[in-house]
Symmetry: D3
């Protein structure tokens, strides 16, 4: 069967999502180029591997050379001190889009995050047009990536689908994780649609399965035709046990960003 692309690039291949997605990427292209900042073993069949530091312009250009489309999952993916986030996620995306632009690449799928909107209360229904409210340096760096890619669309016509990915691990165990859960299969479907649908412009989509209690409305990205097949409803009810309303004071329960709120910049001691 003919594949959609000849060669795609997946960055962040050594990360959690990179490792889980690796075997699913072959359906998209004859050659899957995998990249990360650290060595992660040898290429398998149909793969190419490029070790690249996103903060280094020349590394990034080399990494992007000759690809048809990019799935950009690379960079820091947890709350960290600012310097590494700045290097990998801010300078890194600047380098990436400069390469994309100069090399004539036409579409990027950017792994953004729900932490761009993590400070919204858990009682608020969001859609992609609402102002960002990041919950720490990590979330802010994803705000940066979304704004930067918007600029490259508005100014140069380079298309990006920004996926605000939820909790993408095999099994949710808390209320928040169940609410924001994204199954691997649904993520793969979302990547597929983001790559093949014609004319996506600059789109922000929430990467989330069809869970009960969703905070996020994918209305603006409905044209992608993403139709999640999974739901966290199939997991044991994470709201079991005695209800303790006192916990309502916990900021990780009150805000969509959850635990990230206390991993970021701290109150002074």
């Amino acid at each position: 069967m003919t594949k959609p692309f000849k060669r795609i690039l997946f960055t962040g291949a050594a990360g959690n999502l990179g490792r889980r997605l690796r075997d699913h990427l072959h359906q998209f292209a004859d050659i899957v180029r995998l990249s990360d900042a650290v060595d992660f073993g040898p290429a398998r069949e149909g793969e190419e591997i490029v070790i690249a530091d996103l903060a280094k312009r020349e590394d990034v250009f080399k990494m992007c050379e000759g690809v048809d489309a990019i799935l950009h999952f690379g960079g820091v993916s947890t709350e960290q001190p600012f310097e590494p986030i700045m290097n990998a996620n801010i300078l890194g995306t600047v380098n990436l889009y400069e390469a994309v632009h100069k090399l004539g690449i036409k579409r990027v799928v950017f792994a953004s995050s729900n932490h761009t909107i993590g400070m919204y209360p858990t009682t608020t229904q969001l859609d992609a047009s609402m102002p960002v409210r990041a919950d720490g340096y990590y979330g802010l760096s994803k705000v940066w990536g979304e704004a930067l890619s918007r600029f490259y669309w508005d100014r140069f016509g380079i298309e990006t689908v920004c996926l605000r990915i939820g909790y993408c691990f095999p099994e949710p165990t808390t209320h928040r994780q169940a609410n924001t859960w994204l199954s691997l299969d649904d993520l793969v479907q979302l990547l597929h649609r983001s790559l093949v649908v014609p004319c996506v412009g600059h789109t922000i989509a929430f990467g989330v399965s069809d869970n009960p209690g969703l905070w996020w409305d994918n209305r603006q990205a409905r044209f992608l035709g993403y139709a999640p097949k999974d739901s966290s409803a199939r997991f044991p009810e994470p709201l079991q046990g005695p209800v303790d309303y006192a916990s309502n004071e916990d900021i990780t329960l009150k805000h969509q960003g959850g635990q990230f709120l206390i991993n970021g910049p701290k109150y002074p001691d």
Copy 2:
């Protein structure tokens, strides 16, 4: 199995919904305290019974003493002359929230009504942010309860889920009833979610099953994770028979409140 609460209070136990819900409340708490203004027989296992006149402050305080959460279904539930509605539904909710506040109770589920918005045309799609348009004294008293509970949240942090309950009887027989139908199972689910979801703040949710032709959009309350399992589509089509467009002039067909429009304050003779 551990239950969510030690003791909950259900008011209005002798009413239509009270009687139908009675056997379903045990899943929520070790002890279900039932209350009404009139005697409704003896307590069963796991129950406590308190007879209380909502218009009497001391009755209400006694009724609320020692409970973890309240399902407030008490008061007048049909269109009536103003005095009884004022006593039970206006003064009654003032007494209730004063008790809730003074006794340190943290959450109420309030049985509001679609009659808060009964004057909207049947061609209008509503959500919880739209201005109320009550269809009579009863609907107005529910507007009062919603506004009062909003105040207690804004000012004192007491949480309330206001359920604008539709037609909650076993079988709908008219177009309007089918459109606004709420199955008992769906109501139980909605009560469950309203009680156990952390951080509900002040929420208005429409209590309605997954019927065709819904007038109401529960978007703002989606975080509750309420997922109706029933639909009035399974009942015999209530739009059968010859269509008579002349009936379009009937105000009970043109407005969402239906029959309540002609049960309330009347045109002068």
Copy 3:
């Protein structure tokens, strides 16, 4: 010169606004009927006086007999315990609208209040379509009046202009008072427009002069043609003196309702 009406009724004539408006009402009608619950001296030329308890149906009917339009400023106008507010403002408006309806009166100007929305933050711009957020029993009773008059419009075609009056005293001395100030002349203009403009339906308008820093947008009521001539900018700057950001924690500064927030229902001792 011909006056707009033969006879209008002004309720609440003994109150602050009643006393200040008394000499300005003659432009509206040949006969100004003044009413209050308490004696306030003899009628002057062109006046009629009716002492009436709003909670008494027969008083209210007598008070309304034979008038062309009503300016309803009567009832409790400060934060109070619930019982007097219920009698004058809740039962009182029910009686009023029943009389209006039965007697064939076609338009009411209702003195509502900014305390219907007093719990909104002072950083929020409001318009008349936004959900109410009252700041105490008084504000809630005005929510009641707005909802009740809406019903009488939707159901029976009786027109009401609800004026959410701001700070209507001669001279503002705080930031909040300057922001919400309404001059007497502007109030008179607003009453005039509310009475004479054809087809007002049910309208909510903010009664406020053209002050700097307005929280309220009168867009939906612009058709009234109300064009405030005064502004609190002419008063000494109420933001003088050293800035103390610590006061930002003061709930009367953070919410539009100001001082009313601490006059209403209290935290338990």
Copy 4:
């Protein structure tokens, strides 16, 4: 079984949809009157046939005489030079509504078109309240029909459901066709609901099945109770094959109107 109506009129009976719908119309009425500008053979049982030129006032009056409701599918249904469109679709609808009005007919179902909004980008989610953006003379003539029928509702109380029909052919073969596909069964259901639901006023509904990637939100018409049973997801994936981002420059891919954009008025040679 009793049918909803005694006699309905279906115009455009010789067209694509007319021929496919013909056998499905009997469920709506005892007598189905079929009309077109050209001869299309003899009447079958339960049918009446009236040949009528929509541009001729007397033809139209004769065609409408004695019917209970009208399904107006007649007129030009493809992009054409302006003159035939003006005669059939503009003058034709003026004649139709004059007849409807004079003859006391109370409801019309009008076959409008997605080409009323064909100039919107394919990345935009639409609902019925958004301004029209037609993609040629044909689409503009449907804008005319929607505006004309709105007038007849606002001014004379004649009800119309405007169906913005998508791609209604047996099998979609392109991305756009799959996205906008309407199955025949879903169309029949939509006609049924449009005819029998009480109080439809003037409603614009998108005639589309439950396809992935929908551009159109039927929220405002949800009260019709239309629940599509089909989805284009069952057809072979129309996004197969190698992705060619260069095609993103194709205006028929970038706009919802697709091929119609290049069938209409042309750039000068």
Copy 5:
């Protein structure tokens, strides 16, 4: 002084606005070409005159030849039977835009009308994004012109400013006329801005002075920099005299279109 253009075309020169504007057009161009369907006397200095029937394609092409911009005020400007409106306003605008397109003209100022939205209640605040609700054939023909010019912008990049002109006569004498009044000077300013502001795309602006009680919000067209200098507040108060609420039943008072509502298609006798 250099003028903005070498040659502009003004159609409808023999009409009310044409005659009043005639002496004001010279500021826009060295040569003002005036056109109408009927003879209106000889050209003055700096003028050219072309008699043209808008319904005739060749007339329209001749009329448009060699102009830099068009002020299209021609066609029928009152409620009339449909045929003349169709010829002049529907076929006429089709011919005009075909000429504009083929001849390479880049901008049109189109005299639309408030009768495109005349069925809105007088209590409703409108802006340009709200759906049209015409009040008769004339208003519908202006809806047509707005939609047609939108198409020519979306598809071919031809710019149009549609002016929904209010009551443009020397002196308003009714409430509605005062509310919708446009002074000649303000109209001239609006024409100037519509012609000279760079990049207007397709814009709908309300042609109205700075009157009290405006129903229309020009927010979306604010970029034009139109700043009305006149107000109907300077005329004698048109709301004088005794108020008669019974007149509220008059449809010409309840709807923005006023008198046009009863000049258009009629109820059957």
Copy 6:
């Protein structure tokens, strides 16, 4: 007279706005601390000078020590290669807010820019809730500052007023400059209001005078009470001279960001 503060910090003192504002800052505080990365001469009376590199954490902490409020105008203020912008505007604001947070400073006025929204068309009316669309690295760095300060408000209660400053030079000479002009006096007023109004939370305000043709609506920040006294209407009309519609293709005319669009990242050669 008592001044609002004891000591305020103004960063960017050697820049264009810094030099023009310098003499106006004394009204805000007894001591004005001025800071920049480069030497700009000796302190005058009532001033303190701190030379600080925003990219150096310790510099920034020293600069902020002991101040009551900060006017942050420092950093790069023109389109530049990314590295200097990253250091001064991204790392610089991170350092600043960390210092603010650790040192207990409660309010910042942040000089943001209209280049955060420079890619919007000049025909679009904006308000502060609309998604950002930056026009280059500089604009993106201001998006960063707005998002970072939002986080510090949401998470730690530190207040910031972000001023999206327009064209703040003595005299506008182009259409865009006239449209976005901010007079020095209006800027001073805006700084004053931003400093002294209680409870500003996180606010985005457009820094612009009362010019004709404004693209920006300050509705959400109206509570600041900013009332511009100047208007670019007093300058010679910048739209003089012959109109050349061909220039409509110029991207600096089509987008709000103007010249910045071609100073930023370029198309590949």
